[in-house]
Symmetry: D2
Subunit: 342 residues, 4 copies
């Protein structure tokens, strides 16, 4: 089995298969990694799998079929290319390789693709969240969310769940978490600083008003990915507050820049994972690598508990089934971890 | 004549008249001002005059007919109400009163409506720009535009003209100014740091690329007020740059938050004049009053020249004509100053 | 007993007595409060009690004998002056009144002296820490300490203990806490993010290097109050890092601004409690009142545990004994709460 | 003459000579530059030349005799080492090489030592100020000096003269410039925003109060280099203001951190040229290279006039004379440019 390379492939919209591809060779400066676990990033991967984005959009340029999905991979370095220190061999790494048994990724200080796992306390399952964690950590930093500020997280999928937890860790309160799916709300941490809101049962703006003593939220975080919901989210933010556009909405929004942005002096902050600094500077240190280092420390020291978020774990061969399940009812799936046997 | 109070009134959309209203009495804490000059704020006032905003929008709530326009008034205090220091009488003040011979405005430290004119070098005509100056100054501060950063100003009406001048005064360069009307581009200051661009003659993004050595603009300032133009303006801003929403666009925009905001990590900053601090704090001093103080200093010391922007000066009785002219061809009018004889 | 007003007075340096003073009457806009608890602020009050500050220094101007100490008072409003809403009567308030059974303090929105206790879960003992909490909260905000940054707190007295706890609550890690007194280090929270260091046993800079993976601290917080120790604290901060001057050192330091400040581009941030915004603005909301509101929420919701810091509780009549004890060995006393019986 | 390499050398404190050293060969990644002009950086170089710094200080570590001074060099690339694009040959560059006819400096994107002169309008004399300009530009950025803020510059040597000019270019006003030497004050720009103050004739704090309408300065910039003057400079800064430590004071200061820093919540900002970002990030772009690019643009476009600052120009062989002159009366010398003939 070690001489095959099973790989998840979207052959066309709404079709996922396992193909046996060739085992890649590490080129100069590259590592060859044997995957142990990979996490399905339900938001991004579902958007591509569904395949209904406008021609000419950034989504359409990125997602060309056949498409090999996945960027949340944990494995062991088993070979290196030229110009790479051989001490890499045998190390466990989190990396941005796809859902495949063997992946090659570049090493080196400027490489954004590999993160050594410096804390043995972090399990493979947990480590596979590193990329989602980086997205959210970077977003929260760009939002300038400060100690004691209130925040509303719209959408409690994987990113939303992480956003709630990280916002609490940096001292935001209250953190109001909104989702239509009760199953998702039940995965939220139960501490006095977290306020779950199901809009089927409560008016969101009223709930925010109550939880913030009438002030409304300092920061709103968009994580539904639903373009048409965005304008309604502005009801929850205070005047001169901030809206963090952390999702990748899959289509246009009809948006009144006067009423929702200018008249109330709202700041809308787009935060793609690519806005991390590349190499970092002493005054701007929060690179992707550095965020993952912090993330692994938080897991290892028990400050964040990801176990409730790993709702499904299965052999990689089940991947096609999961993607179809996502298409049908995304609310039932949260963290889906694929296992890659030796 | 001193016992009449001619007042500009929009009786209904697209209809302006001069009505002789009653001379108001200053109530407790108020000043009675005899107007000398008032400036037509072409953007806001034209939007109201035209009257074509969506029902339920913020515009529709604000602009109820009959409507008394104007908020850029300069005159002399001739009487005060109770609880007001009588030393106000005789002082020249810029104030937010409307286009009328007599206006009453509140005084006091918390009042945002009156600014003493502490520099005699500032003419009545120039002082009448105070409110527009405050809008732009506040916007530039909220945009965090920094020394040496590049900026593109879309729309060279009154606010755009001020934005170009202030951006240069705080050391931005280049300042690229975009307008379809050659008459407006010709009013721009001629210094090496200002680059006028007429999209009828040049591709805007190309012009920005040339002027910024390929970096694209750090900041884009929206001042066209045209909702449908907004998405195209994002072509000029660099990744992770800022778009200052300084105009009050009169309707909705079809806007892709993924492609234009999240994917490129753009920050969109709404900046209404109301986001000035109310009273100010030592760490947040830039109130409306303080901005006007700086504005008057800049005029008095010759750092900014408003004369080219005063394109028309006429007796107040011509006001209805000017509003109709604005409706027909706004590009020919810039600063229209109404004179109110003693 | 209700018609006497026992009051702690420093009659001269190193001499504290209880005097029976007249019960004050609330003037216009004032509240009369019957004290239940008052906390001895060991740092400030000991500096005054010891009385050895240089003539002409700010300390000498502030501390004129006889001096009535105390600014951490909790009690019940029992009467109000004119122009005060009578609904104040009966309310429990934290206030800046001194160590006396009856104190008068101004009310009103601009008044910095009174904080309503909006959470019944907060005990009188705990509430009495409000003023110390405000000092530290404001200091941390001014330091711009951010999520994931490392910090060294020099001095683990009351303010240092609060600084460690609050720094953890806003996500700093590691928080390295330095003190010579083992008794103080033992009061620190035991979580993986807190690293106690006793310089009798470890080299501080080495301990910081280990705990920060060689990076050294992003922020150093001075809370020893010892002028001669300050230069050594700069060994722990990284280049381009920040030193928060949160204590009130009682005398001059010999300080090389080239070696310690300019050459390493260190920022030194003085943060007196008086640098809170006065009334606050929507963009600068963290007034003293607002910080206390957050503090009371943190206590009520169990995010911060002050019980270990209340090391001594005693009738007010013991106050003179405590001040002398402080002079002899401050390290044995932490939170000293005076009880004022009905 | 082309086969000798005259070089300025400090053989010991207070002794400068011209030595004929060997012409260096460019190593891998290096450029060989034939010098046209070099500027004496009067502050740094005089401190080293005088040689009276404390043993063990950072100054003592840096300045080991014999010492080859100079870091403000303009010349032409005449040869390159291996791994360097030969198109460098013939280019005019500003570089950090010393006072010598031939210097070698590294090239490449990460190299901080070479700046191409992209604007032919900039003369060799002017270009030689690039390094001093970078020091001041970086300092002003770190000080967060904002449009409309007031500033006091203590010390009007070369760095002070640049600080005054740059502060004006970024919109600070008033800029109050303090020096004991009338000759230096006379070199200041004469615009309404610059207020020269000679403490022999005026009380500085009074002059600052007058010029700032009683507010005192938002920012104070230390550029005297005199350790004992520093505490007095805090009289000019407002509460919660900033003091930029931009000089390299040559010895310790007796400094009361309570009275001057904590009690008034002053922030002291050390800003060494080394605190520029190394490579820059899109969110932190102001590297040394980028600052020089801006500096050359400002000269080329006539926004800054350095001619008055070039007070002396002489053949390199006069250098020993100038250093002795600096020791005797620094106030008579400002920009001293050495000429290096072909």
């Amino acid at each position: 089995m070690a001489d095959t390379n099973p790989t998840v492939v979207f052959t066309q919209p709404k079709t996922a298969v396992i193909e046996d591809r060739e085992i890649p060779s590490p080129g100069p400066g590259q590592l060859l990694v044997r995957t142990r676990r990979s996490l399905i990033s339900t938001g991004t991967e579902l958007t591509i799998f569904a395949g209904d984005f406008a021609p000419g959009s950034a989504w359409a340029e990125y997602a060309v079929f056949p498409f090999v999905p996945g960027y949340s991979n944990v494995g062991e370095v088993i070979e290196v290319g030229t110009n790479v220190d051989r001490s890499w061999i045998g190390r466990r790494v989190a990396n941005t390789g796809p859902h495949a048994r063997f992946v090659v990724v570049p090493a080196g200080p400027a490489a954004q693709q590999v993160r050594p796992l410096h804390r043995p306390e972090v399990s493979d399952d947990e480590a596979a969240f590193f990329c989602l964690a980086e997205i959210v950590m970077n977003g929260l930093r760009r939002s300038r969310l400060a100690w004691g500020e209130s925040v509303v997280v719209y959408g409690c999928g994987l990113l939303g769940q992480l956003a709630v937890r990280f916002a609490r860790l940096l001292g935001a309160r209250p953190v109001i978490a909104v989702d239509l799916a009760e199953t998702r709300l039940q995965l939220l941490p139960t501490d006095a600083g977290v306020v779950p809101v199901n809009p089927r049962e409560q008016n969101i703006a009223d709930a925010v008003r109550d939880a913030t003593r009438g002030r409304m939220a300092d920061v709103v975080i968009e994580l539904t990915g639903n373009p048409s919901v965005i304008p309604t989210e502005f009801e929850s933010v205070r005047n001169q507050g901030r809206v963090l556009m952390l999702s990748s909405p899959s289509g246009p929004t009809t948006f009144d820049f006067h009423d929702l942005c200018n008249a109330r002096s709202i700041t809308i902050i787009g935060a793609h994972v690519g806005s991390h600094p590349d190499l970092g500077e002493i005054d701007l240190p929060w690179t992707r690598q550095r965020h993952s280092e912090l993330f692994f420390d938080l897991i290892a020291d028990g400050e964040i508990d990801l176990q409730p978020l790993i709702t499904h774990r299965a052999p990689y061969s089940d991947a096609p089934t999961w993607y179809h399940q996502l298409l049908t009812d995304r609310s039932q799936l949260m963290g889906v971890v694929l296992e890659w046997p030796d």
